[in-house]
Amino acid sequence: MADQYTPIVCQLEQDANAVRIKKLILYACKNWWENDLNRLSVISLQSLVQELRYLNPTLERLQYKLKLLVGTLSKQEEYLQVANTIIENLAALYRTAPAIEKTPISTNPLDGIGGELQTQITQALEQAANSSSRIKKLMICAALKYWETDPIKVEQAEIKKLISELAHQYPTIESLQIGLAAIVKSLNKPIEYAAIANMILREMGKLYVQEDGVPLQEAAGVLTSQALNQPICQTADPALSLFDIRLEIIKFANPLRAKILLFSLVYYPFTGKEQDWSNLKLYSLEGLLRSVTTVCSSLEALQLKLEEMAHQLNQPEEYLAVASVILKSVKPGYAELQQQQQDLEISAADVTRADSTQVLIAPVAKLISGIENRKL
């Protein structure tokens, strides 16, 4: 099956836009924009293409994801063409290998799916799930990217299906480990769930076979309390408070100026160019508010950055006033907003809300340089 990738990768490498193709695929796989050609050249396009295929089980999903990412770039027209080239070339992978089981990954856990091994794991996890619904909750979250609170639905979820789904989504035990750790950290009972995650990892580890054929049973034990020592509270309805925060802002500030300031902080300083206006329109005020929480770890940091940015924009005094309104509005629930954003990031891939355009893009400071106009 490896041959299936070779002609596609060759085709992509020979394309006139080969560098941009690699940049976009890298961005789609690792959520990271690389401008350095030397660093780009050492990354294997073949493994990136394989990962891209894994991360996007359907062609529609791939199209959606690429389109979403292109929307965040400054050279949208050029990258739309690049995205189309990728889609055209990768379409063959979806036609000839509809079953993801066929994808060649050396430690493919799917080899164990359906066999006796899976039955064993299912039984072990089911037994444990009888005494605690948390196992299923965590598996649902990792597999289906949402947190299920309805006990009936948790009860109805089938362990066997969840195992298959996890194996599909996490090609390696390391990726499963990372995925579970990210979820556990975002929960309000991280210590309790770390133990659950370890149990899942221990059982699932049996599916992930090393190249020498030895099962990776001892993969667990990585989710230590030190990584998870942030007690976080969860709210019943995250969407509600965001509506209130937004309302508070627009009551006392110009919504457009609020957006310009937040956009400049999260992405790049707004200069009023045609492209900036189009980019700004892609983001909703609500989405920008959510994104800003990932850039500024505390209210103090937010204040500092808002004021700093206000000084850089045209008519700073106007933006300073807007900054103070934003601060006042988010102040009562900033920690909560941060927590909600973390929860959302878990389910980002499946979010179809109005502001979903930016949820998938890590709007963190380290990315800013990557999205800078002229470097693209």
């Binding site: 309805d150 009936i152 639905k153 109805q156 309805d237 969407a239 509600l240 509506f243 937004r246 309302l247 627009i250 009551k251 110009n254 919504p255 457009l256 100026r257 609020a258 957006k259 206006w277 700004l280 329109k281 909703s284 005020l285 609500e286 179809t352 809300r353 109005a354 502001d355």
Partner: protein
Amino acid sequence: MNGQDVLERYESGEMNFTRANLSGINLMGADLIGANLAHADLHHSILILAYLNRSNLTHANLKGTKLCGANLSQADLLNANLCDADLHGAILYGADLRGADLSLATLVDANFRDADLRNVNFSGADLRGACLRGANLREEKRAYKGANLRGADLRGADLRGANLSGADLSRSNLIGANLSEATLRNADLTEANLTDAILNGTFLTDANLTEANLSRAILRNCKLNRAQLNEANLADADLRDATLSDAKLHKTNFQRANLTRSRLNRAEFNHANLRHATLVDALLIKAYLGRADLREANLAGANLAGAELSSALLNGAILQGATLPDGSVQT
């Protein structure tokens, strides 16, 4: 007249620009508070971040005009032509827009709080994240037709407390919008997409929601009496304490929906899908459940007195403590 002339005249005290031809003019950031621009031709002009508070723009031609971030609070925009105008992040707080044409306009994150929007044409407008809290869009017999929001994009919009009685919201996109406490009596929401929308305490009495998508929507304490929900999708919706008396629910999908304590008296559930739905303590007096699918549904404590249940599918349904059609209580 160019932008400079307008500003000089305004600064010298002249407020009257009635019927002036100002098409294509650049007045970015201009201060024209209270100016009289009634019947003025401002099409394709640039009024980005302009101050037009309390200005009179009655019957003004603002077709394709750039009004991003403009302040139009309490402005008079009666019958104004704002077709295809760009009002991204504009302030229209308390503005009077009765009869205005906002079709295909860009209204992303615009603030329409407490605006008078009766008889406004919003068809195909982009209202993502817009705030219409407390806005008046209601239909009034012989005076105002309901607002036209046909096919409008209202994703994530804040419509709390807005009056949308008789409004046409057919095929509109309301994904993730907040319509709590809004009034949508008699509104047309045919084929509207309300996935993940919040409709707590919303009045949807007599509304037409045929084929609407309300999956995962939150409809707690929502009033849906006599509403038409035929073939609508309410899978995984939260309808706790909602009222759906006399509602038309032909082929409606309520899979896994939570209808705890809801009032469903005389509702017509023929061929409705209620698999895995929770109907604990629900009132289903004289409800018609002909060929409804209630498999694995939880009807504990529900009142089904006089209901038509004979042809419903009840395999695996929980009926403990429920009052059955003949008045007996299931033990």
